[in-house]
Symmetry: C2
Subunit: 446 residues, 2 copies
């Protein structure tokens, strides 16, 4: 049997950059590479063409009475730019100090392939019916995934959806993610004049869209982090004391966090810890802002237009549509006189929190604990993985987020890496989970 | 004698674009073209090389006891871009409906050449000693002009400095400008993080430079136009009731003003009219603002950096240096915690107001009145012409701003034009002024 690590290196050498049309053949090559591995492992595989990149779907039925697990992941990767900052070439996977350096090593080829390798190793001893849904468009917004899921609800039916595309809380600390924030994203375009005018000749008597944008942003969120949209907090479920106590036990180092992002302060809502503010409190952040002269030096112009884009991260039970409505109504209320405003709604996503005491989560916790030899911690994530809510809704199945990566894996950045030990233990954890799940679902405990 | 209009068309055909290095020879050609015209008119001319484009200096001494007038102007022009918006080519001067279309027609070739043509027509009957200082770098910030003026104070000595590089208040309405606003220009650069971070993973716990910029801008000026920098208004000289009454008699049409700039409102300090707000009240306008993602669609990033540039238009007796100091101190006071700030000072300029009842101004008023057949109005301008304060300081001479252009001349824009009638009457007014000035300076009146 071929060493899974060498197989992973082969997988990582394929530059399956979904965003770059010149890599279209490479993306397809990666899909067929997976097809070959899964076929070798005895799966019935289909490489499903889409209007974009193909979806790899595979299944192996072992026993109609056994539970069914659907593993979701993606085989496409981020573009490797800026190339000059890589210490080793992004598509020449290199192992150094126990770390596998390559684009896609952690996001998500290494993590999804841990499950494929587990299935290969279990071979005929597979204790569950296993399905793989591995897409090639995650890094470009998964345009074809939800339509595929909706169309193939029955075929994809599963007792548990298993996803490994997230980080562990700390190196060596097995982690299950049980919550994700949702998202509402709006863009505001303001216009106060038909054209830019001279700030000398007109200053004092005409609207200035840059100021209007600033006034509005200042009224959206105050410097203490409080969001001033009426009704914004109405549906926020407070964190239970037990949950807060659980987070307090996590090895979180505020100084290390500040050093990591290069921040001198960690401003935010008073009375909430940093983890709670990132995981369980809704936020509003301007992501882009522009008006007037953008070049070097000075130009004396009153800008006719301004724009700002902002994302709101949502928590249960906030509804992205309702929040976007509230935000838009407030924007219209605070719009200063003399400006035309256009509000554009970009993508959104539902917040998700799943119980940590469900049988699949408990099985996953034990599976990780056996692999790493440490008690599994339960964390939330501040980001959004919209497909999680989609799976829960469309397949009516619980989702287990079992991350093998690390925050320090340089996702979407140069020198992406994946610790070889996490790959090995990921395979082990995957096998453990498939073995333990049937027992937990039956109400047993290992 | 050659028709001055045909000579002007020849002058306008030279693409003397000072900002574009590929036009360096053309700029020089325009200088020599002026040299030839002024030499033909009996002037001693020098084309003075600088590190940039040459300065044309000419003088004609008629009588040691006669007053001396220094005419300042510029022979360089703005770049013609965007070319596709010109209805006739910018450097193929075209007369249509009594208007001369060409880059530089109004700014400033047509206006300065009116004075050259006047001197040519007066020939040996020149009633004053006349000097011309015509630079080729006005559109690139006049880097060599003030050093030249300082170095040649004696040679440039004059009883009056005459400048035609400004608009009349309305078509057919002879106008003298007796006030200009000053300028202080600052740029603020903020940084809250070492790098952009994901708005999901970090939102709620890290600084966001876009918000900091917005909060600060919102604290610089409120939506009513009030500037909140402590001490900002301390040195502002209020407008006298007579001056305000004089402006009230000007044919100003607020609806036409709004239509011209495409504004639905004319926000500004309550209790002040639009002209007073543009001419005699200080202002603060953000000229450029940027942070984070500038592209189409959405990107979920918390920007590490933000910048904003703002200009403050100043009125007597505000001092640009003092105002910049006050602004910088206030910026440091309102800077939110967790951000590093850099403040860059760009160019400034002193505000200027000259008496309207001085002999040169009265001579100019009569000169214009005789040419246009209407009473001359006195106006201020909202913009800044820093060289005016420099002339007043270095040459200790009064400055007369006798504009022949119109607000609608499309300065710095496609389809720049100059009304042929204003060129003709400008020549006449120039001759009138040179004739009337000696009498007014002697205390007489025509």
């Amino acid at each position: 049997m071929i060493d899974p690590l060498n197989q992973l290196l082969e997988f990582l050498a394929i530059p399956s950059v979904s965003a770059d049309p010149s890599h279209k053949q490479d993306v397809e090559r990666a899909a067929h590479w997976l097809d070959n591995r899964l076929s070798e492992a005895g799966f019935a595989v289909e490489v499903v063409p889409t209007t974009g990149h193909p979806i790899v779907y595979a299944e192996k039925q072992v026993d109609a009475s056994a539970p069914t697990v659907l593993v979701y992941g993606h085989y496409d990767v981020q573009p490797p730019d800026p190339l000059e900052l890589w210490e080793t070439p992004p598509f020449e996977p290199t192992i150094k100090d126990g770390k596998i350096y390559a684009r896609g090593a952690s996001d998500d080829k290494g993590q999804v392939f841990a499950h494929v390798a587990a299935a290969m190793q279990l071979a005929d001893d597979l204790p569950v019916n296993l399905k793989f849904l591995i897409e090639g468009e995650e890094e470009v917004g998964s345009p074809n995934l939800v339509p595929f899921v909706k169309e193939h609800r029955r075929r994809l039916a599963a007792d548990v959806v298993l996803i490994s595309d997230s980080p562990m809380f700390a190196p060596g600390l097995p982690t299950l993610t049980y919550g994700l924030r949702g998202l509402a994203y709006l863009e505001v375009r303001l216009r106060g004049l038909a054209r830019d005018v001279h700030s000398g000749a007109y200053g004092g008597a005409v609207p200035n869209a840059a100021h209007a944008a600033a006034w509005m942003i200042a009224q959206l969120k105050d410097p203490m982090g409080w969001i001033r949209i009426p009704g914004f907090y109405d549906d926020v479920v407070p964190v239970a004391p037990e949950e807060r106590a659980m987070w307090a036990r996590l090895p979180f180092d505020e100084e290390a966090f500040k050093a990591e992002v290069g921040a001198e302060a960690t401003p935010g809502e008073p009375g909430y810890g940093i983890l709670e503010r990132r995981w369980a409190r809704p936020t509003l952040d301007v992501n882009g802002l522009g008006s007037g002269y953008q070049g070097e030096g000075s130009k004396t112009v009153i800008p006719a237009e301004a724009f700002f884009k902002f994302s709101m991260r949502l928590v249960p039970d906030q509804d992205p549509e309702k929040i976007a409505d509230l935000a838009e109504a407030y924007l219209r209320e605070i719009l200063p006189e003399g400006y035309a405003m256009e509000v554009i709604r970009h993508h959104g996503g539902d917040p998700v929190v799943v119980p940590t005491n469900s049988p699949p989560m408990q099985a996953a916790a034990q599976a990780l604990e056996e692999a790493w030899g440490r008690e599994t911690v339960f964390t939330r994530e501040g980001g959004s993985i919209p497909i999680v809510a989609d799976f829960m809704r469309e397949l009516e199945a619980p989702v287990v987020l079992m991350g093998f990566g690390l925050e320090s894996d340089n996702l979407h950045a140069p020198n992406e890496k994946f610790d070889a030990v996490n790959f090995e233990k990921g395979i082990e954890a995957s096998k453990n989970f498939l073995r333990l799940l049937p027992m937990y679902l039956k109400g047993g405990s290992a």
